[in-house]
Each structure stands twice: as C-alpha cells, then as structure tokens.
Assembly symmetry: C2
Homo-oligomer: 257 residues x 2
Amino acid sequence: MNKNVLIVYAHPDPRSLTRQFVDVAVQTLGNKGHEVILSDLYGMDWKAVFDEHDFPARTDPERLSFVAESGNAYSTGRQTPDVMAEQQKLLAADAVIFQFPLWWFGMPAILKGWVDRVFAYGLAYGYKGEGNRYRYGDGGLKGKRAMLSLTVGGPAQDYSPRGINGPLEQLLFPITHGTFFFPGMTVLPTFAVYGTGRITEEEVERAKTAWRSRLERLFEEEPIPFRHQNGGDYPDSHMLADHVAAGQTGIMAHIKE
Amino acid sequence: MNKNVLIVYAHPDPRSLTRQFVDVAVQTLGNKGHEVILSDLYGMDWKAVFDEHDFPARTDPERLSFVAESGNAYSTGRQTPDVMAEQQKLLAADAVIFQFPLWWFGMPAILKGWVDRVFAYGLAYGYKGEGNRYRYGDGGLKGKRAMLSLTVGGPAQDYSPRGINGPLEQLLFPITHGTFFFPGMTVLPTFAVYGTGRITEEEVERAKTAWRSRLERLFEEEPIPFRHQNGGDYPDSHMLADHVAAGQTGIMAHIKE
C-alpha cells in the first residue's frame, strides 16, 4: 500500500551529502509509489527559536510558561502558521525521516528548534491534556515510523561499543527514545554514514546503496525494541518493575533484550 | 583568588526559574568576589542557526563545508562579531555555567545554536588545526570548569537509575562529555531542579539554597571523572585499551569508577 513519508532535513547546501541522501530517499520511495513530502528547514528559513512569538494569543501575558502556552495554543488552534503546517505534514505522515549532520553529538539547532516548536503540548506531550498518561509508545504520533539518517564527521571506530565518543545509538537515546518514541512513534535503528570529513566518491556511492536498502524496507524493518510505558514494564508509569531488566540501571534498561 | 565566571542562559522571561537561578548565581558568586559575565541568549536575540552568514569570507563559495569554513574563519579572524564576542567571553572565563530548561532531553535550540556557532574548528575541535589530537580533556578550553544547571519539568523519579526517561546524567552525556569535556573543559556534576511544572514557592527556596551550596564550591568541587584521551586509556586515540573498564561497553565506560 502506498504511504506518506515526510523528510525533515537540515543542510543549506544543495550539494551537501545531506541533500544527496534526501534525493536518494525521494527517488527510492517515489519508485515504490510512496508520496514524499519535504521539510527543507534551511530552505524554509525555519525559525529555530521557540519564544513568545509562538503564542499569538497568550493565556498569561505576564509570565511565560512554555508548557501552558503551548497547550493553550495547540488546543485552541492559535499557533503560528509555520508550526501548524509542520504539524499537518507530521499528522499526515506514515513515516518521518530526519536527515542531518551530527553536530556536537546532537541535532543542528535549526532541527532542534523544529522539535521544540512543532512538538506541542497536547500533541507530542501531555496528549489529550492528560499529563504523562500517554507517552513512550503511546501518544499523538502513535503508529508513525521515525528514522534518523545521519552524516557523521568522525570515524565509525570512535562510535563503536568501546569507542571514545560512546556508541552512536546511546548518544542518540535522548532523540530516539526521549523525543520520537515519547509521543508514540515506532523508531527504527539509525542509519549513519561515518567519516564524512574525508569521504571518497566511491564510499559515497556505497553509502547510497546501503541507504537505498534501508529505504526499501522502511515499512517492514524491525524497530528499536523500546519498552512501552503502558505495556506492563512500568507499573507506576515512572520506574521499571523490579523483575524487568532486574538489577540493571541506565538507558539500556529501556530496550528489550 | 577571584575568578571570571560566564553564565550562558536560555529563557526569555525575567520571572522564569531560569532567570531566578541566574540571579542567585550572580549574587552568590559576586559575594565571593568573582567577576560574573552574562550571555542572555534570548535577550541578545542570539542567532541560533549556523549557516553561510557565519562565514563572511568563504574559502569555497561553491560548496559549503562547515568544518572547512569554520576553521578558516576562526584562524583568519573573519568570523561574525557576535561569535567573536562570545569566544572572547569564553576564553576569559575560568568557569562557565549553562542555565537552561531541559527541552526534549536536551538544550533549547537557541543554546544549541550557541554551541554550533561559537565552538569553532581550531578552538573547540581541531585544536591547533591538528584534527583529533587534542580532545577529551585537552584542547582550546582546557582548564576551564563547566557546569550545567537545569530546570526539569518532570519528577526526579523519572530520571532515577531505573526511571523511565533514563538517568539524567546519562541523557546529558552528549553535552557534558561530547560538548564540554571534548574541548578540554573540566565538567562538574549537573545541578538539576525537578518537577518545575508544579513546583511550590517553598520548593523553589529549597532549590535556591541547594544551588547556593553548589556555587560556593564551584572551584573546589570534584568534576565528573571522564577519562582523558591522552591519559593512557585510549592508546590509539579512538578505543579504550582492553584492560581499561575491561569487558564494559557504552558511555559509562568513559567515566572512571
């Protein structure tokens, strides 16, 4: 069945690897009959900073609570047009691909600002206005797939299990688990191209081939097996039950073996 | 001895907890005779997005490599005035405090954009133009202390060793280790105030008292014992030696027991 795929990407140069990987995705997914929509954050001159201008109709003009104003703006439909447009794309999508260069082990500010502004209270957190009842596998974006696709300057070795930077998927946990699984998305393992600082044309071609294979199975691939808040592992919605990942602490305890 | 402290903070509302904690720091550190400099990112209307305008004199007008242009702009002094001013504050500082609300388990975009733009090649990475030779405990910001001070919406329980979000200090590893220890800063344990979504005045006062105690010992406190790249634990500068944290993988292997 044909699906809708949103690609959110963050690089200003049309010749960048980021854009090349976006092009590969557009072509590969298009060939499969999927509908691809793009959010070219640099091209759109996306406003990165979440501030008072995000709330055209404040509930409290005196003191700015982002959570309260976000909830009010979302539920009353009084958000800015750019944010509403992105939310509509997101809600229409069956899968969302985030293509970006890894900067300081995280998203470029323009992409972080897309999350800060688009992931409103009532949609991506505080779903249905019910605090933390729906989160981590449940919520406003439930059922949609998410995949990070990264270009990484440093060598793969530095991100290996005992590499000096730490393993890539652990560094990305605040994004995969905390940002995309949180509102209910089904998060796929990250696709990464390493060593882009001195990559050869041949390596770029190999990386594009690998990327095409990942895209071919976008809707079939097994996701990262994060534990669902409402799946029984967190009886009080806050802590792992004693018998779950017994004796284990830390972020990896939230991924099923 | 009197020291210079830079506080970089990210909240637009003067009545926010963020600003209140900044005020406590200004007062406490000032009383100790330290010189405090502020970077009020919202107040400065800080440009968050790292883009071609960061390079007034491009080496390659055709294709935008952020690393190459950053290195050239920094080494030739052709950066934008706002970035140069922040680098001067940073270089003059003995300690830097980052005060911000935790948004999606990371920095608000405006602060991430401060890092993206200010942490130039030649200063914060590629120090002395020598690639990865000086990093993780060594580099352009060596000897300066860094501390994150956060306001966190959710309850502390959710960030505890088996809490559903993952432990706070692990979620922050890309920032503490990957962003501030990377260029050589000495990173202190994070100070966090939890449950700010429904905090009482009494709890705010208690948190301010705790914050004052941390500030009192800003220059004496033991840092997070991250392993230094050039300290012997990474003989090839990429991977942990077999005998170091033997059998352990993941981010926690980079912290000494």
